[in-house]
Subunit: 168 residues, 2 copies
DNA sequence: ACCAGATATATAACTAGGTATATAAAAGCC
DNA sequence: GGCTTTTATATACCTAGTTATATATCTGGT
């Protein structure tokens, strides 16, 4: 196993390291979702959840609540619309505004996921984050180690095998 | 100020949140580098540092020590080579292998940066990470808050204004 | 009413990541 | 030596971020 240089660089490579960890978490989350048999775009979960909470929302607001740049949200929305997760329309009072809402199908699938998929994922990620107590860099290192040792899917499987009184 | 939905989603949006934070850190780091008048590709610092430490290295090994996928490294190397930071050549004993090394100019600039740029950056990031003591999510939230309140460039400036006995 | 400035979103351009696969070269086996 | 399998990297395709700018629309002042 090669030495992990990002770790030795400490704060100097924190940005790179967090992006890497974010990629890992998203990939493992999507794999875990697939394991449950669900067909959900895990990476877009925050956007879908925002729509669930806020109801019909314009693109600029979505960008603000998600803390990302507007053009990215425009593209994400276009993609989700093409895939049938959201639908959009121009606002009658201001033709610049495009309002995004969940399709009925998407709302149902999210409702279902809220019951059986997201709790599994949340528990698995929390489990991975439970190790380590030190400062931020140590916590990141601990999380990286934890994910490498036992990807989320394995943690979820362990949770299921442990029975109903498992990981709460 | 819009509510930050990623925060409310806790572990469910940890991957997205880390990628966002990584983007923020890298952007602020590059701005801070520009403030110092240096012309360094901050996002490629880990790769350049790896070459500094390991000497001439093949692409697969770079991918391994950086913990990223090989095609990304190929692309990064191509870009750095075009910009004069690295040079590559085929290995005589194994024509599949491409060996990457720093150019002499790059080595000098990195040497200089090691003295005057990276310590500034490291201190600023460490400063931003210093707040908060709770579990990982709280630590991330604290870091996000800290970066929003005072971007790295401002932290570095505060460090310089504080004089030589400032932030150690 | 007209115009300048502000605003919302689309588009352009770029960066940086992933997985999958293609191509070439090396290694190992018979 | 010939063939099959493995390995290293390039390439294809896709995703997801950014900043900058274009386009259309709205707002407010005169």
């Amino acid at each position: 196993m090669a030495e992990d240089i990002l770790r030795t660089l400490g704060y100097l490579a924190l940005g790179s390291r967090m992006k890497r960890l974010g990629e890992t978490l998203q990939a493992q989350t999507q794999a875990l979702v697939a394991d449950t048999g669900a067909d959900l775009p895990a990476a877009q979960y925050p956007l879908l959840e925002a729509l669930e909470r806020l109801g019909p929302t314009k693109i600029g607001v979505l960008a603000a609540v998600l803390g990302v740049a507007q053009p990215g949200v425009t593209r994400m929305v276009d993609k989700l619309e093409a895939a049938g997760w959201v639908e959009t329309q121009r606002d009658n009072d201001d033709r610049r505004v495009r309002t995004v809402r969940l399709t009925a199908t998407a709302a149902r699938m999210l409702d279902q996921a809220r019951k059986d998929v997201w709790p599994t994922i949340e528990a698995a990620v929390a489990d991975a984050c439970a190790t380590g107590t030190g400062p931020l860099l140590d916590r990141l290192a601990a999380l990286e180690d934890a994910l490498k040792e036992a990807p989320l899917a394995r943690r979820a499987a362990a949770g299921r095998k442990g029975g109903e009184d498992g990981r709460s």
